[in-house]
Symmetry: D2
Subunit: 298 residues, 4 copies
């Protein structure tokens, strides 16, 4: 069978390579998640478990690529920022975009039972995500990109929090929508406070700010190790960037140990620690993962 | 929070659109499937269940996009051919490539238990696939592309079948490799026949030719319906293209009923029929799918 | 001086290659030719000399690339159609687009005096052209592209002919514009005929149809030779494509001699013959060209 | 004539836009200039007039685009650096690359007689240039790009200077080539000095460093005006960039008057001054240019 007679068709493959020395953002977006959330009875306006599942998927992608400087997730989207000098797949666009989308999806499904078994939510159809790659030439452009996503979650979450409280109080969806038409942020804060006794700033920070993922050295039981760490913080202000200089400058990496503080109970932290303990206990990686899957850990 | 101050970063998104009136091939490839097969004890050189699982994933993608003219799977890869006139996502490269990769992955995991529960194979880590889009301007180029992939499965499968038979007969992997070095197809056929009594042409056709997926009208229990149909055939010769003119020419679609023949017991056929029956029985799609997942059907 | 320290910057060069097996159209467009025509007192609505100069530039590009199947010029634009299989510069976009633009510009200036000396029109500032490359996957798409350009010259020329006759008859530009607002082709034909006694179909065909350039074998003084030949014809109808099958199918090239008929006096024909005679007379190409430039030939 | 029936072909035009906020370098390269130099008897290894003609073409491009931060020419190539924020043609690749190539070519031909009339060198065939666009995300990348081109002229010019002196001393081209094989820069400096009494560092700086073009405010006859100024300097060292901060930072533009010093007699300076004087004297631009062309000014 003359393979060679047909091989010319390989020439039709274009291999676009992403411009060197630019930040590469790969952003994942849920496809049709409005319906997916309804079918699986996710809580509105925020389902903490669903967000934690997104974080598991984000963690998996971060573990796979050590050239990711920062991950950022909110709602049904996740952004992964590859370093300027990243050489992953020789920066080939198709491969990078498709593989990150596939791995994220795969991890999302892999950890589903860990998250949702206690609520007896079975997955009823396969979810999916699309992805795109965007290049940013300067550090400022990159920070503005991340700020854009974090400002977006603020705007949406304030709206949704107010909307669903109005609905819970008896308004129809249409009436709640009408009530909020043309309102400013301050108006929504006022509705929440005066009508529902809610101080928006006391809402869980993961809802208000999304989840930042960084690879950090942490100390657990007197042992230093490298984990993917969830951080809930304002990344628009300079303070954040001063605190984590290694994001923009790889060489700025310090040996300093990062203090997990109250985040030491975050599901993805507990999961990573359990995997490491099992591995230490002599199991190979595959087995450890398998057992975890069967027993759950959240 | 000034969303607008940051919104300029959207301008950095390039939206490459794939050239109109070309065939678009999206090809999915397993990432690190050598290891994935080993960890999950897939049979060598071919694991029929694993191939059927790939077909389930292929079927899901075909169901999602009615602009796919033909799907073709072999080993850990799957090609989906979008029609020249396809307008899916306005032919945006990133979106198409990432979404197909994500959906394929998702379906692969979703149907895992259906396929592997009887063999008690749990998924031990999340698999992933990359994807690429390739454009072909002429029908001849497209046929040559598909011929290339089918010639590839022939070359690989003949080699692997001989190799693993040699190993099963006691040779080390290294010795089997040495034995095959420089051999022609005819030599391998001869080894198989004289040493192992195997007539290669009698090997299961799914191993030798891969799986072709087409959307066809079939008659089941006196009712005509449209299914994604697996076909095991030589697609290099003209005969195949004469038999299925609707692939290259959408308007050539006939109302003729396609005869499933012995393929009416193929797992993806049985699955589609069961889903339809449940749906008919008053269940909505989500419930049907859920029940199927829980009970299995293979 | 450490050249090597800086050489990494070469990696930033992307080399987009145009998809194989597609027709490549490179279209040249005059930059700011409205002003250029005014400054150089070109006749309105058509300046035959200016069109002939465009044809000289088109001829030069056709002579340089034997992979051009057809050239088509009208107004201040020229399209060059590279064959599907063209391998020029490995189909690198930047190189092809920029070089054709540069060579066209260069030839336009080089032949300026040949055309305009008799009218004592000196070039007062350097003209320029931009270019773009467009891919067409099928023969039908290509024919439609050329039809589009020829339909465009018809629409524009009918308008312009009527407009400038109205102006010549005493209307202001604004009044002529107003007079033509909302008129159909038939209306303009009627104005031309009833008001100015002009039968539009008798207008010079080069104005109505533009110039087609083909490489043809012609017989001049009993000697067969290959020339770039101007053709004034309707390329929208099938007749044209039947007459010149070698455009779409390189192998259809016949040895038949093309009859120049009345076009044997076209300036680019006379020029090519003169160059060949001088060359035959022992002059090298450079000298021949130089002499031609000095003496003029139109 | 149904224009609209064919207009769909416009959809096939891709408009690649160059990534925002990157430096855009458009580099022009002479096509086949080895032959072009021979046919027109340019002096070797450097022809000062030919380099000045390149500078005229470079000046014309700089005058056309006020978003060019710096131009740099050497041998038969010229680089134009568009600012990060440049919005020229919405950063469309084809348009930018082709137009710069066309305008450069056009200006090269337009000023030919001005430069070469005194040597009675007629242009014997139309020269041409190709162009490419390259993006640089950081200031450092851009400086390294320019350093690369200037290091290149050094390496080539030292070689060529030595080579042609060897040839002038009687060696055949082949022997001169052999003599230089494997030699270091220091070896070539030594040959020049010991064999020909030439101190390479005293060679004209335009040959050793190429020509930098900047838009500067200069004072001529007590009047301040903005001119495209040729600068002969080392641009690899920091000193240059400190001296001309406006290249990297548009806002750093000072009102300071740039001292032309000995460069006030450079041909492109004299030309620009003459054009301005004529314009001041009541001529419009076209006429001034026309007169200049006819009388010459070098």
């Amino acid at each position: 069978m003359a393979l060679s007679r047909f091989e010319y068709v390989k020439q039709f493959e274009e291999e676009e390579k992403l411009l060197p020395n630019c930040w590469i953002v790969v952003r994942i977006d849920g496809k049709g998640f409005h319906r997916f959330c309804n079918v699986h009875s996710f809580t509105k306006p925020n389902d903490l478990d669903a967000l934690q599942l997104m974080n598991f998927a984000g963690m998996t992608v971060m573990q796979e690529f050590n050239e990711i400087a920062i991950g950022y997730g909110q709602s049904d989207e996740y952004s992964f920022v590859f370093r300027r000098e990243a050489s992953v797949y020789q920066r080939r666009r198709d491969k990078l975009v498709s593989y990150v989308a596939s791995l994220f999806t795969s991890a999302y499904m892999f950890h589903w039972k860990r998250i949702f078994d206690s609520r007896s939510i079975d997955m009823r159809y396969p979810p999916s995500f699309d992805a795109r790659a965007v290049l940013y030439p300067t550090d400022e452009n990159l920070r503005d990109y991340l700020s854009w996503r974090q400002a977006d979650v603020h705007v949406n979450n304030l709206y949704n929090t107010t909307f669903w409280n109005l609905v819970a109080s008896g308004l129809s969806n249409a009436d709640a929508e009408k009530r909020l038409q043309g309102t400013l942020a301050s108006d929504k804060n006022e509705i929440l406070f005066s009508q529902f006794g809610i101080n928006y700033n006391n809402e869980p920070i993961i809802y208000r700010k999304g989840t930042i993922l960084l690879a950090k050295s942490v100390r657990v039981k007197d042992k230093k190790q490298r984990l993917i760490v969830p951080i809930f913080d304002d990344l628009i202000s300079d303070t954040f960037w001063v605190k984590h200089p290694e994001i923009l400058d790889k060489k700025a990496k310090t040996d300093d140990v990062f203090d997990l503080a109250e985040n030491h109970t975050q599901p993805i932290i507990l999961y990573q620690l359990t995997v490491q303990e099992r591995r230490k206990a002599g199991h190979n990686k595959g087995e450890a993962t398998k057992n975890l899957l069967e027993t759950g850990s959240s």
